[in-house]
């Protein structure tokens, strides 16, 4: 590749990656700010609002993303890659900005959750169309022997999007007090999106159509019905299934484990301070993200299949050790408490909603010899009417860890991000190389979004189910290793994916001009 070509592809990468990163950012800030959004738009004491909240959570990931893959994939294979992923960018940016502008439930009632739900679904639709377009666009500009390297930049965007969303939220939180942030400050990360989208739109507008697609179009070789050709013909559909079951399914669960499950595990099961967890994740992403490019580059040298399968295999055999080490590091089971510094204070007050009831607030403070500080607030409601069943006490615990534990956790999350980079770094090039130009956008988008949206998206629900079942409802857990049981889900899914990938994927043909 000469210097002019290299400069050209760098522009393509920059234009595509920035836009895709912004779309991931937009998608993630909703998830990261979900607890605040719930209080503003979806009051849980109202059943209809709660239903809309659940739809916003599940439908955007499970249903709308694959549908977006089909809708925009078809458009991309008929009209063109460039125009389609310009549309997804504007759709995503517009929806995100508007979420930040919607008046709260208190101000406009049910219209608020309805509008937010519609905008969230539009986000899911746009995300479903964006990735396939960006990956295809970059791949179709790249030479055969460097495709893994160039497309790996697109692969960094999902992690960078999450990273930037955490940074923007942290900066916004730091720049104001907690009350202001919960009042209106949470809207700022949504508004920031429109600036980034505007910039990305200007950059993308100047780009040309993918050369392979432009050639196919000029020769009249594009498809008139890419959905039918992709999924209606056995010859192609068998590769769609192979892409899903032999690659994206395992990649999806490993991605979710390394990003979201690790974060939720530290917050929920280990009770680590929320802000500290976000810092830990941020550092792990900073150290891990360059490896997307490393493994993308390496996949050009030794093959995509080897790296992706190696990533899955190592993850399968090391997840239990990693999560056991995380639990031992993050919780206080192996720490020595300084008893004289521990306090427990009870206060009683009337319930503001039902003044006849009483709320007992217990504040527990513990300190440990290594510098760990544990704080817990337990709110127990005592009902005036003794015939009614009292609600479960509300617990809010936070463990602030010392420096060595903090850095050990960063390392343990970083290792998981490394697995993600192995399976995710080469996958764009891998998927693009599986399908012909005329149906590429459609054919690669659907398995990607089912693998990530469905198999990956199921991770929290199934892992929580496994964990809760193992823990039981009593004071003593049914299974002493209850906190490790959620990990079975990614291990089993990645294990099946590994076997299918090993025996069925060839991976030797890396031409994409067919």
């Amino acid at each position: 590749m000469d210097s002019k070509e290299a400069k050209g592809i760098k522009s393509v990468i920059a234009a595509s990656s920035v836009g895709t990163m912004i779309e991931w950012y937009d998608f993630y800030i909703f998830g990261s700010l979900a607890p605040i959004i719930a209080t503003k738009f979806f009051p849980q004491d109202n059943p209809t609002a709660a239903l809309l909240s659940t739809l916003a959570t599940f439908a955007a990931g499970f249903v709308v993303r694959p549908f977006g893959a089909l809708f925009f994939g078809r458009l991309g294979d008929i009209v063109g890659r460039k125009y389609t992923f310009m549309m997804t960018l504007l759709l995503m940016g517009g929806a995100t900005f508007l979420i930040g502008c919607v008046p709260s439930y208190e101000q406009i009632g049910f219209l608020a959750p309805m509008i937010v739900l519609i905008l969230r679904l539009l986000q899911g639709l746009a995300l479903g169309g964006e990735y396939g377009g960006a990956a295809t666009y970059v791949a179709e500009h790249s030479p055969d022997n460097e495709r893994g390297f160039w497309t790996s930049w697109i692969q960094t965007t999902a992690t960078l999007g999450l990273f930037v969303s955490l940074i923007v939220i942290m900066i916004t939180k730091k720049s104001m007090d907690d009350v202001t942030f919960k009042d209106w400050g949470w809207r700022i990360p949504f508004w920031v999106s429109i600036l980034m989208v505007g910039l990305s739109y200007v950059i993308r507008r100047k780009m040309h159509e993918s050369p392979l697609f432009a050639k196919a179009k000029s020769e009249g070789k594009t498809s008139t019905n890419p959905i039918k050709e992709s999924f209606g013909h056995r010859l192609n559909f068998k590769y769609v299934l192979l892409a899903l079951l032999g690659a994206t399914m395992g990649q999806g669960v490993i991605w979710y484990t390394g990003h979201y499950y690790a974060m939720n595990f530290l917050k929920t099961d280990c009770k680590v301070d929320s802000f500290m967890v976000e810092e830990i994740m941020t550092w792990a992403f900073v150290f891990g993200t360059p490896f997307f490019v490393v493994f993308g580059w390496l996949s050009d040298k030794i093959g995509r299949k080897r790296i992706m399968l190696a990533g899955m295999l190592i993850a399968i055999f090391s997840y239990f050790s990693i999560y056991k080490a995380m639990y031992n590091t993050a919780t206080n089971i192996n720490r020595t408490e300084i008893v004289e510094k521990s306090t427990s204070v009870d206060t009683k007050a009337a319930d503001t909603k039902n003044p006849l009831d009483t709320i007992i607030t217990t504040k527990i403070h513990k300190e440990y010899t290594d510098g760990t500080v544990f704080d817990e607030t337990i709110k127990t409601t005592i009902l005036a009417d003794k015939t009614l069943k009292a609600p479960q006490p509300k617990k809010d615990a936070s463990n602030k860890l010392p420096s060595d534990a903090y850095w050990k956790l960063i390392f343990l999350v970083f290792v998981q991000v490394l697995f993600v980079t192995m399976v995710y770094g080469p996958i764009a090039a891998f998927l693009v190389e599986m399908f012909p130009v005329k149906i590429r956008y459609t054919s690669m988008s659907l398995p990607y979004h089912i693998g990530n949206g469905v198999f990956g998206g199921l991770m929290p629900a199934v892992a929580t189910y496994l964990t809760i079942t193992a823990k039981g409802t009593g004071t003593t857990p049914l299974n002493p290793d209850w906190y490790l049981q959620g990990i079975w889900y990614p291990i089993i899914i990645a294990g099946v994916c590994f076997v299918i990938g090993l025996f069925y994927i060839d991976g030797s043909d890396n031409r994409i001009d067919d």
Binding site: F62, V63, R234, L245, Y465, I500, F503, Y504
Partner: protein, 75 residues
């Protein structure tokens, strides 16, 4: 290797049936029943599990297994 792929096809079919059984009896129906008892979130998840996710997971594994058994993945 082609014969290994073919015989593994039977495993994918069995796995598809098992996944369907597990997702209906252990996840979908319990969530749906919990939804009927008043938990809205479980109701939505149960319906999505039963109507959308289970057919995708089972359908993909069964079709893949069938293709493998019928030598579609021979190299």
């Amino acid at each position: 290797m082609n014969s290994v792929r073919k015989y593994l096809g039977v495993i994918w079919i069995v796995l598809g049936l098992f996944a369907g059984y597990f997702s209906i009896t252990s996840v979908g129906l319990p969530k749906f029943q919990s939804g009927l008892a008043g938990n809205t979130s479980d109701m939505v998840f149960g319906i999505i599990m039963l109507i959308i996710l289970t057919p995708i997971i089972v359908g993909a594994l069964l079709t893949f297994g069938y293709y493998a058994v019928t030598d579609e993945y021979d190299q």
